[in-house]
């Protein structure tokens, strides 16, 4: 290829008509070049812009930040970039898909290049603006879809509360967080009493209705940081961050009473429901989070053995009851 020089008029035409925004600023932020893309989207004619201070023409620009960005490009003689993911736009332009868009402005990626008339030290900065609205919308939709999928995969299909997989993940992260930063948390494992009898007496649809209703009532009572999930068939679990065991007992008992006091109505039939609960609190000497599950299971077993419809807090002595029970 010959080292041919591109005719000036050709280069100028290309620059003018290309479908990306191009403008040049000198060190005083006076505009030295303003192409058609900029004209059409900003409504400012090139003849009005040339020689004019950019911030005077666009008072809404984030001045300190953009000044620093431009100055750095000149000082370091290095490219700089601005991504729509950090700042949706430099100029608030309308975008060209008002019907299919769902965005109220053009998303922009910007590239800043040091330039000069000859090849000596840069004295100006060329800013290139790309319309990335399509990409931004697609990315945002994809992100939303991924979040929805993640949420669906974390939830129990019947009750809509979290599933076991998610519960364990949360339990593990709560355990690690507490271990790292201190504090405490509790968990409660609980089980519907004689649930098999509900299914046998009233049918599985009634059983399902009971599960859904219990899940709904609990969800209504939770603080925003609490997590409730269906651990297994008729077994549920609660994770209560920043809650010592006394608090867990009070909270758990309230839930238990609430469930007991209001029977579930299914198909004009009143189904009495009670739950047994086992609670335990984080302790620094536990090797891993699953020890908490074992402990609350032991406490839950004690509640069952103690006549059901009650809450037991874990203590090491309970282990012997559980062990003797397991033999039978």
């Amino acid at each position: 290829m010959s080292e041919g020089v591109i005719p000036f008029s050709l280069a100028e035409n290309v620059l003018k008509r290309i479908d990306v925004g191009i403008f040049v600023l000198n060190k005083n932020f006076e505009v030295q070049l303003w192409n058609n893309f900029m004209v059409h989207h900003s409504g400012h004619q090139a003849k009005d812009m040339l020689g004019k201070n950019l911030f005077d023409a666009f008072p809404d620009l984030p001045k300190p930040w953009f000044t620093k960005k431009v100055n750095t490009v000149i000082m370091l003689n290095n490219f700089a970039f601005i991504s729509w993911e950090n700042r949706p736009f430099l100029f608030r332009f309308a975008h060209n898909r008002p019907i299919t868009g769902g965005a109220d402005h053009m998303y922009q990626n910007c590239m800043l290049m040091p330039v000069s008339n000859d090849s000596s030290k840069p004295e100006s900065v060329c800013v290139v603006i790309f319309d990335v609205t399509d990409t931004a919308i697609a990315t945002t939709m994809l992100k939303d879809a991924m979040e929805r999928i993640a949420d669906i995969s974390n939830r129990d299909g019947l009750t809509g509360i979290y599933n076991r997989r998610y519960l364990e993940t949360r339990l593990e992260s709560e355990f690690d967080r507490t271990r790292r930063y201190g504090g405490t948390f509790s968990m409660i494992l609980f089980d519907l009493d004689f649930f098999k009898k509900v299914n046998d007496t009233y049918g599985h649809l009634a059983g399902d209705k009971v599960l859904v209703e219990v899940a709904r009532r609990m969800s209504d009572q939770l603080r925003t940081t609490d997590v409730v999930g269906r651990y297994g068939g008729e077994e549920f679990a609660l994770i209560l961050p920043e809650t010592p065991i006394e608090g867990a007992r009070v909270f758990g008992d309230r839930l238990r009473e609430m469930i007991e006091l209001e029977p579930v109505i299914y198909d004009n039939t009143t189904i009495p429901v009670t739950v047994s609960m086992g609670a335990t609190e984080y302790s620094a000497d536990l090797a891993s989070y699953d020890k908490l599950i074992l402990q609350s299971d032991v406490a839950l077993y004690a509640s069952k053995a103690g006549g059901r419809n009650c809450l037991t807090c874990y203590s090491p002595e309970l282990e012997t009851i559980a062990a003797s029970g397991a033999k039978h």
Binding site: L76, N78, F79, F81
Partner: protein
């Protein structure tokens, strides 16, 4: 792999080349961050991409979480630069920018991108400048950079790169120690490129050795 490791002489020369290039990076960063920045002499080596996860994991520490920024470059050399920051680095930078406690998510991302962009620009741009100074054999030594983007946030170092998914076979791995306002942290700059890129660098290095 057909590519033999660099000889000792070649490695020394490459080290020298990057030293000069990175000499400016310290002052560039100081300008960007508006604070005194001390940059150690970088350590450089050629690493095969398959070995990269293990190498990075060793360098950063198996249990430490890192964030990484990627940026592609083309022209005289082509490839992808990946800049890796440990957790302390992210926090040191955040402090520096005057954010008390929590740095807004997008502000932190922008900061990582800016610093990464300056590092790769200074390193690769500086290398091009050195190359222009002593050779024209391989064509005009100029590069252009594409927009950097965040690859990962807070993951173990071994998970940054999945060699199975990487087209490049080799990488130049550069380890840079920073000190900013009495806080030390390390950033790792790795430049992944195809095998012919490494061969090109080998050629340049040989010329560099011959020239001095």
């Amino acid at each position: 792999m057909t590519l033999a490791a660099l000889t000792n002489d070649q490695r020394d020369a490459l080290q020298e080349l990057t030293n000069i290039a990175m000499g400016q990076a310290g002052s560039s960063l100081a300008t960007l961050l508006d604070a005194f920045v001390d940059l150690s002499v970088p350590r450089i080596r050629v690493v095969e991409v398959v070995e990269l996860p293990a190498t990075l994991s060793d360098l950063v520490g198996k249990n430490n979480l890192v964030s990484a920024v990627r940026q592609s470059f083309q022209g005289y050399l082509r490839g992808e630069a990946i800049i890796i920051f440990g957790e302390p680095g992210t926090h040191a930078l955040a402090d520096l920018m005057g954010y008390e406690g929590e740095l807004a998510e997008s502000g932190q991302a922008e900061l990582l991108l800016d610093v990464a962009n300056v590092l790769s620009g200074a390193c690769l741009g500086g290398m091009m400048e050195q190359i222009r100074n002593f050779t024209e054999t391989h064509g005009p030594a100029e590069l252009s950079f594409s927009m950097p983007s965040i690859m990962v946030r807070d993951v173990p170092a071994a998970q940054i790169i999945d060699p199975q998914k990487v087209q490049w076979t080799h990488s130049l791995l550069l380890e840079v120690n920073f000190t900013i306002k009495d806080r030390n942290f390390v950033a790792h700059l790795t430049m992944l490129m195809p095998e012919d890129g490494i061969e090109k660098i080998r050629g340049i290095v040989d010329e560099f050795i011959a020239a001095f």
